[in-house]
Symmetry: C2
Subunit: 301 residues, 2 copies
């Protein structure tokens, strides 16, 4: 009797175990599981020399510049930041489902040693040896879509050009109709559905890795294109600094999952083909703007 | 001499005129221009019987239900609304770049005469005679993408199914892992990059036409998946009413540009192929989630 009792129990246990193992194998991992299983070398620390901290009343926005896509714009922005150009300026425009933009409300502040006019730099030269995680799916806005340095990007092999895509968190250089009118003294961040029609039409020069919610929750402006209608609505920028210029104790040690890592590939696969108890119809597709890139605070060595 | 002087002037004037005319013809119209040129019959008024007003501390959110996509869910929501189920409940979750969700924080309030369990209704039967503005471009998440009743939608002719797409402003029915666990007592709205991987996995049952910024600017929740961690952070819903149940003087006479209208087609064309002084590289493509649908207050007859 006892033996007879034990056998079904053992069988049930084995079956339960197999179900768990089979389930684990069949289910796509969550982002948290992928991050937990990742290796230390799969993460890169943000470089303090190209990382910016923008201090708003609600907290700090952490932005990484990508000079490889718009070198003269990145250099100009670093010059402006180094000379404290943005301190005391403000977020002047927040358009719902589009962008938050900051700069000089009066457009009068001298740019110091920064340049007023720059070449357009909407696209950068295409370096075939540079790392590019190409997504397997078609993209309507680019011949090839994927990630470069963990930032969503497009490539055109025929023209040998590459550019950062206007996904959520992309940092763009505001400009007028003149393609050379953008100089980095007014910048915007995408806070809504990716306006990919702007790709290759504006210099995108970086990405926000932390604090997006501080920009995305700002009151929308009531004027045309979301500009605030009076100065009292503008959101003051206390300071905008290079991380390298901030005392080390005040820096935040952010790491981004490398797009060339195996874990990032697992993340892409998990977004494309999702098998779990919630999902009935796996999408079988993923858009480059629809892969939230994991970011974390660096763990002590 | 005078004649000789006049001739070049006339030629110059003619040339300038031609340039203007040619320029006007070549430039794609702005949304404002398309709206200004539209005919009255190209707009449809929201039906008060399926339009909801959600009163938040910051103002009113106007939602239109789409019973043709999820009839039992729409009916259940109308029952809940009619019995004032949502009054005094709250926005309980706001996840950055994803969704704002409301319902009963305690999950205890009785549903009254509404049903607790409903069939899944992730997709609806495909009616070939119903109006569908199909976009010409490929869509990764749907065999066909376009608009039905001015709401972004997908279609699968092989399966003869159609569904509302998870674009900015889409109203979805929150649920657990059980496909029949959603009943409309907890609802969410997309406030970020379109999570199209959820299409055909959740019942999408309507669209927000006004007040999106009231949801999109709410503080993000600090808990897992953006849930607020304590009750004081939840955003109270004063009331959620059918427009038909609100005195006429308190209604807002909203009109939406019909997706089957010529002006809507002009809008799609203008988003796909943009020629103006700002744009250097026309996208030649448009995503269904990237066409903001014009809405206006009805003009008096």
């Amino acid at each position: 009797m006892r033996l007879a009792d034990v056998r079904p129990l053992a069988a049930a246990l084995a079956a339960a175990l197999c179900a768990t193992v089979a389930g684990a194998a069949a289910n796509t991992p969550t982002t948290a599981e992928i991050v937990a299983a990742s290796g230390r070398e799969e993460w890169r620390a943000l470089d303090p020399a190209r990382t910016l901290y923008m201090q708003l009343p609600s907290g700090r926005v952490v932005i990484e510049l990508a000079p490889e896509f718009a070198p003269q714009h990145a250099a100009n922005i670093l010059k402006l930041v180094g000379e404290h150009y943005f301190d005391g300026l403000a977020v002047i425009r927040v358009q719902d489902n589009f962008v938050a933009q900051w700069g000089d409300p009066d457009e009068k502040k001298p740019l110091g040693s920064a340049r007023v006019k720059l070449p357009s730099e909407y696209v950068a030269g295409y370096d075939p040896s540079a790392s590019f995680l190409r997504l397997p799916d078609l993209d309507g806005y680019a011949p090839q879509a994927g990630f470069i340095n963990s930032m969503p990007a497009g490539r055109d092999p025929a023209a040998r050009t590459q550019w950062l895509a206007h996904c959520y968190g992309a940092l763009g250089v505001a400009r007028g109709n003149d393609p050379e009118s953008g100089n980095g003294s007014s910048l915007y961040v995408v806070i809504g559905q990716a306006p990919r029609q702007l790709d290759r039409n504006i210099a995108v020069v970086g990405h926000v890795w932390l604090g997006m919610e501080l920009l995305a929750t700002l009151p929308r402006g009531g004027g045309a294109m979301g500009f605030y209608e009076n100065a009292s609505q503008q959101v003051p920028i206390a300071s905008l600094r290079r991380a390298a210029d901030v005392p080390e104790a005040e820096r935040i040690a952010l790491e981004v999952l490398r797009s060339e890592s195996r874990s990032f590939q697992r993340l892409v696969d998990a977004r494309r083909n999702r098998r779990d108890d919630f999902i009935r119809n796996s999408p079988g597709f993923v858009d480059s703007c629809n892969i939230p890139v994991p970011v974390r605070i660096r763990r002590p060595e």
